[in-house]
Symmetry: C2
Subunit: 327 residues, 2 copies
């Protein structure tokens, strides 16, 4: 900037005004403005955003923190968050921390130290205390997908209970009476509500079997899912399962894979439902809960930006309704 100022024969101040389109405000003559623009263009001048941010107090950067960016759900969310944020003039920094609170804290601090304007985070287990601390500082955060019911903070989630209830009801309507559910071993509300929806749906049918629930760990998902399914079907004299409900697309993928390997046909005698479209075996027309990931990303960005730009209060939470896809 100094270099441009020298060439035109003005001060840095003047250059700054012109390059920021504040010629009126700075009362710079159009002659000088034109010369500055020309030189800036010729020299291929680019702002040092670091310096600008230091002075202005904002970076026009937001962070997105997810458990695992190689997961299809999170990757898609990341894509849409990024597209929408870019459109609003913001850069998004994606951080993938694993379902691991040891990585979560330092990562979040690293991002805040770099002065991101706000964060969209899909929280992981055992991080609630981190959030109460963050809320105290007043740092703009919006939770996506998962949330803490006791913490008063912005969030955009889906109606997990309702979706679960509806899709399990569908299974029941189609005649299933002994439905088992597989979900992740996770205390967070999104999982709890999917479980509750399943239980509640079963209650409607007095002749349906009691809930049978299997919890799978995040660490060895594939293996645990396989073993669970194997066990379930080897005990068929005890519990003659005729329906399976998977709480996520990942679980469904591994589960269906195992069914196929075991040679168990999926059809009227053995029906399946799950969350998220699984690309796996699309010829099996499995009903699923379609989460509006794009809307979720957009809503989260909009909520965060209005919080950042307008100051404090926004509507606290946004609950999206997923579609039940019946195929």
């Amino acid at each position: 900037m100094q270099s441009i100022a020298d060439q035109v024969g003005v001060s840095r101040t003047t250059v700054s005004f012109v390059l920021n389109g504040k010629e009126k405000e700075g009362r710079i003559s159009s002659v000088v403005a034109a010369r500055i623009k020309e030189v800036a263009h010729r020299e291929n001048y680019r702002f040092n955003e670091l310096a600008r941010s230091l002075r202005t107090g904002h970076t026009r950067t937001i962070a997105l923190v997810v458990a695992d960016i190689s997961d299809r759900f999170f990757a898609t969310l990341a894509f849409h968050v990024q597209q929408h944020a870019l459109h609003k003039g913001y850069l998004v920094v994606i951080a993938s921390v694993g379902e691991d609170r040891a990585q979560f804290k330092p990562t979040v601090e690293m991002l805040i130290d770099r002065q991101v304007d706000g964060m969209i985070v899909v929280p992981i287990q055992h991080t609630e205390q981190e959030f109460v601390r963050l809320i105290e500082t007043g740092f703009p955060i919006v939770l996506a997908d998962r949330y803490f019911p006791d913490l008063k903070m912005n969030r955009v989630i889906i109606d997990n209970f309702g979706a679960s209830f509806q899709i399990v009801s569908r299974l029941l309507e189609k005649g299933c009476r002994r439905i088992a559910m597989l979900l992740y071993d996770d205390q967070l509300m999104h999982m709890q509500e999917r479980q509750k929806g399943y239980v509640k749906a079963l209650e409607k049918y007095p002749d349906a079997a009691q809930p049978v629930i299997y919890k799978i760990g995040y660490a060895n998902t594939q293996q645990e899912t396989r073993e669970t399914i194997r066990k379930l079907f080897s005990n068929r004299d005890t519990f003659d399962v005729d329906g399976l409900f998977f709480a996520t697309g990942g679980l469904a993928m591994y589960g269906i894979e195992t069914l196929i390997q075991l040679g168990i046909p999926i059809g009227p005698q053995m029906q399946i439902a799950c969350f998220d479209r699984t690309d796996f075996a699309p010829n099996l027309k499995i009903p699923y809960v379609h989460q509006p990931i794009q809307e979720m990303g957009k809503a989260a960005v909009d909520m965060l930006l209005s919080r950042i730009e307008k100051g404090e209060p926004t509507n606290e939470s946004c609950i999206l309704t997923p579609h039940i896809i019946n195929r």
Copy 2:
């Protein structure tokens, strides 16, 4: 920092030395150092990395630019790049630009304006000129997965030709003689070499049919793939295909899906091979090219960081050898 200095009764300089672990260098007494540390901890002091970066000239941040973060290959690459970079003390900013050069240029500029120390990029078509400009500026870049043969710059890639050659050879050994290939309609070398490997393998067998190649666009991959497969099998009196080779995991997924829908059994009479493990239909034991994504990510990070930290010259290119998985 000023606040800490005031409380301890020293200058900002002293505080800075202590908090940066340069007490020896700054010749600060251990008594003062201890008091500073204590106050900093009590006040929960955190560096403003923006300000530090402005002064030191580096941000300890690198960017990763890919076409589509929701693609499984890129998401996995992103995951490993991030893990390894974090381990080396760097933050990574992931940017997803689509296979779209209109988004590519502004995104790269945005990142450079924010003073990232370097970039790992998976280039997209028609961006070669951008890179010659970037190279002139001396900005540290390493290319991953794809590359420009004419541009002398750091890159980490795999032996696409060799992998393609080997896996198609496998199909030929197993008896296929009329093998068609599906690949993306892309001028970049990685696709070209996969094609060449296929052609070269066919040449070994004089009784094999001439190459039959279908090019699929990035925009409507799923639909185009389906139509291509349908067309291929409806013309079976003209070309009685007995083998299919997919240049990527995505193409394979859509292709196999269509085969299943058409009721064409995959087996000795109709064999398949592809790049990348497809989670789709794992009960079909399809041989595939396993790309060492984690090694690729690590190598790219290491190459970039040594370029950034040690200055100019590093070994120009790193060629990884994929495994052929035979199942």
